[in-house]
């Protein structure tokens, strides 16, 4: 089934020069530390914590998100933290291209590769690494420090490998995210 066109009130979203669409009702903290690759959509009630950065001065990228990503309603992106050698610190997070993060999901991963689909209401634990071409089903809990290898489908709590993704998943997810972006349109109301 092909997804329908999604309309949003023009006033609700800010569109950047590179085509990012960011909801005014989202909470973006420390925006100077956040990079959006372009054509990325951040929907209502999302929280991105760019202010949680490594202790110590200097400008640093805290959250880097690639192109054609979708952070659906109520998802939370939060850099992971740990205490290393007695020092509590936050660490940067990187998200690749063509990544979909479903509604209400919480992401504290270290890295998320490209062509990744994360379902609704998932919890991605601290320092989890999700490689390219993965699918996390709805309501999955990926525990801290987990590595999700490429072409895997993970499900459950704690998230377990359940199946392999087909080889053409890269094309599928690329088409899907591009399609979603092109159908996410403003409407005067």
């Amino acid at each position: 089934m092909e997804p329908p066109i999604v309309y949003y009130p023009r006033s609700e979203y800010i569109e950047t020069d590179t085509g990012n669409k960011v909801s005014r009702k989202s909470v973006i903290c420390g925006s100077q530390n956040i990079i959006l690759g372009g054509k990325t959509i951040i929907q209502t009630d999302c929280v991105i914590r760019g202010d949680l950065r490594r202790t110590g001065g200097g400008h640093a990228v805290v959250v880097a998100i690639g192109r054609y990503c979708l952070l659906a309603k109520g998802s939370i992106i939060r850099p992971p933290y740990k205490t290393y050698k007695g020092i509590f610190s936050y660490y940067p997070m990187k998200i690749g291209d063509h990544v979909t993060i479903g509604e209400g999901s919480i992401v504290e991963a270290a890295t998320i590769g490209s062509f990744v689909h994360i379902g609704k209401n998932c919890v991605i634990g601290r320092f989890a690494i999700i490689k390219d071409c993965c699918r996390i089903e709805d309501n999955t809990v990926i525990p801290p420090n987990t590595v999700v290898p490429s072409f895997s489908i993970y499900e459950g709590s704690p998230g377990m490998f359940v199946d392999e993704l087909p080889e053409c998943v890269q094309d599928l997810y690329e088409a899907k995210t591009k399609d979603y972006y092109s159908k996410f349109q403003s409407k005067d109301s």
């Binding site: 740990k82 987990t146 490998f161």
Partner: protein, 575 residues
């Protein structure tokens, strides 16, 4: 509304792979086969109980460009090219996979309680647990301290069973000794020693792929059943000396007693926990051990009938690219349901099917519900294809990078590049590399899932040279022998499977006819292919039994096709 979302999720287009039915047609009598060849296109029954095992979403299918056939996961052969640990992503050389018992030989362990991956944690001071070693803390806080494994989900740690490590690396190696001591491992080694003498005597026959030769016993197996091993004056396998087991595991008599005493369900292991520790499958939680993580593989996939490689991943464990990737998505038209109003009993409804062309050539598509039939009435529904013949303009990479806008202004662009759009009956839309067509459906029975078969025959106009080039791509990677076997195999497969290769000339004969009906275009060479699909539309609702029948209907149809009204307007405007 929720019901409708449900219906949308339950709609699908699945493609049929005839492979499970090939053997059936082979077993048929000669008469039937004759008929098959004449009719060329095999029948397809959507209500067959085996339908779920022979239909797949397009993403799971491959396309052998030598056989010009869809290949499903069940009709490809797999060969392992690389073993790797899914946790540390280290590639394990094939030579050491066996000795490491197909599990990661580094630091990767599975929690015995919840099967999560364990992390190595340093304990600062074992007796009074300090809060500074957090559950997910780093591995190297203090040197020389004992290390242990800890689970971030259920907070199990290996200190509970008295398992600590001197070093933070190579934990599996440190456990190697205790693993070798295990009775089952010992017994297996004894057994292997015992039979190895015999195995060495039976010379390995080289008909098997080398990857299988390393499995003890396989060679003798092929000798006995394949290579005519009985004719050789070899020692028969029955002559093996009697094996006496060396290790006896005592039955734990106290176990039953202990189990009777149990009061808390958490004190006994679950089935999953026992199955993860196959060696002894303990009932007591204290006896559960962390297990090394199973390795995963990367595999080459080959067409079963012509042995051509369909999928060849890059050797490296972490690479996600493929050297060869012949997936159906890039070779056959893709069908998507774009508009699916709710289906009501005895009410005719139009659904819209989108056909996208992944090829660089224009294709001509013919649809049928049965052989040469565009309308069909079954006990479930009356189905009418409103546009049984149409063409789809080729795929053009430029469009990919273009702004894909659904605005009215940009609407005219693709149609101007494509052949001038005619106001075809039943054609809903033509844009880029896709054409959307309408199908009229009148459900006649209240069913949970209305589905119907659709035969898609398509012909793409290709030059002969071009065709050779594309099919010549794959063997370039394969050895020349593979190409030879293909050519020698061809006649065989033709005879064996009337519905695979043999139909090609047949449909080619049909070809001019379809061309005539479509446009009258004819190019020197056309190749015509077909496949069956099954289209599922979700449940049919009886408006009489649904509580508020009429009022809900109109908003629902409006809602669901909030795309459609604007587009139809555009269409009619253009026409």
């Amino acid at each position: 509304m929720s019901q409708q979302i449900d219906a949308r999720q339950r709609s699908y287009v699945h493609y049929y792979c005839p492979c499970p039915d090939v053997s059936k047609s082979n077993n048929n009598t000669g008469e039937d086969e004759e008929e098959d060849i004449v009719e060329s296109i095999p029948d397809f029954d959507v209500n067959s109980p085996r339908i779920h095992f022979s239909t797949f979403p397009i993403s799971k299918l491959y396309f052998c460009d030598d056989c010009h056939q869809i290949r499903c996961p069940r009709c490809v052969q797999e060969e392992i090219v690389c073993y790797y640990c899914p946790n540390c992503l280290f590639e394990v050389p094939t030579a050491s996979v066996k000795s490491e018992r197909n599990r990661c030989a580094r630091n990767c362990f599975q929690c015995p309680i919840c099967q999560n991956t364990l992390t190595v944690v340093a304990s600062t001071e074992p007796p009074p647990p300090q809060p500074s070693a957090s559950s997910n803390s780093s591995t190297s806080t203090t040197s020389g301290a004992p290390y242990y494994l800890s689970c971030g989900v259920c907070r199990w740690d290996s200190q509970e069973i008295g398992m600590t490590f001197e070093k933070a690396t190579g934990l599996a190696l440190q456990l190697q000794k205790t693993e070798d001591e295990r009775p089952d491992v010992k017994e297996f080694d004894h057994l292997k020693d015992h039979f190895e003498k015999h195995l060495r005597l039976s010379a390995p026959s080289t008909t098997l792929p080398s990857s299988l030769l390393s499995i003890p016993g396989i060679s003798s197996f092929s000798n006995r059943y394949g290579g005519g091993g009985f004719t050789h004056p070899q020692q028969k396998s029955d002559d093996v000396a009697k094996y006496n087991n060396t290790i006896k595991i005592e039955n734990d008599d106290n176990l039953v007693h202990d189990l009777v005493q149990l009061k808390d369900v958490n004190q006994i292991t679950t089935l999953t926990q026992r199955m993860n520790q196959l060696s002894d499958q303990p009932y007591k939680v204290e006896r559960l051990q962390p297990q090394r993580i199973h390795l995963r593989t990367k595999r080459v996939k080959r067409c079963r009938s012509c042995r051509h490689i369909l999928i060849k991943p890059e050797q490296k464990a972490q690479a996600t690219r493929f050297k060869i990737k012949l997936v159906a998505l890039n070779h056959i038209p893709k069908l998507t349901i774009t508009s699916l109003p709710k289906l009501f009993l005895n009410q005719s409804t139009e659904i819209i099917l989108k056909f996208s062309n992944p090829l660089y050539e224009e294709i001509i598509v013919d649809l049928a519900l049965k052989k040469d039939e565009t309308t069909e009435t079954t006990e479930y529904a009356k189905i009418k294809l409103l546009a049984p013949h149409f063409n789809i303009t080729p795929y053009n990479e430029v469009w990919e990078y273009d702004e894909q806008d659904f605005n009215i202004s940009s609407k005219g662009r693709p149609s101007s590049t494509a052949s001038a759009p005619k106001p075809d009956i039943g054609i809903y839309e033509r844009r880029g590399n896709y054409t959307s067509v309408k199908i009229e459906i009148t459900p006649l029975a209240e069913v949970d899932e209305l589905k119907f078969p659709l035969l898609v025959t398509y012909a793409n106009k290709v030059n002969d040279n071009n065709d050779n080039e594309t099919s010549g791509d794959a063997p370039a990677n394969d050895s020349s022998t593979a190409a030879e076997t293909v050519s020698s195999d061809k006649p065989n497969t033709d005879a064996d499977k009337p519905n695979t290769d043999a139909d090609k000339p047949d449909t080619d004969v049909n070809k001019p006819k379809t061309d005539d009906t479509d446009k009258g275009e004819s190019t020197p060479t056309t190749k015509s292919l077909f496949f069956w699909t099954v289209i599922g539309l979700g449940p049919v609702v009886n408006p009489a039994t649904v509580k508020p029948p009429a009022p809900t209907r109109s908003p629902l149809t409006n809602n669901n096709s909030n795309v459609a009204p604007t587009r139809t307007n555009i269409n009619s405007g253009k026409a």
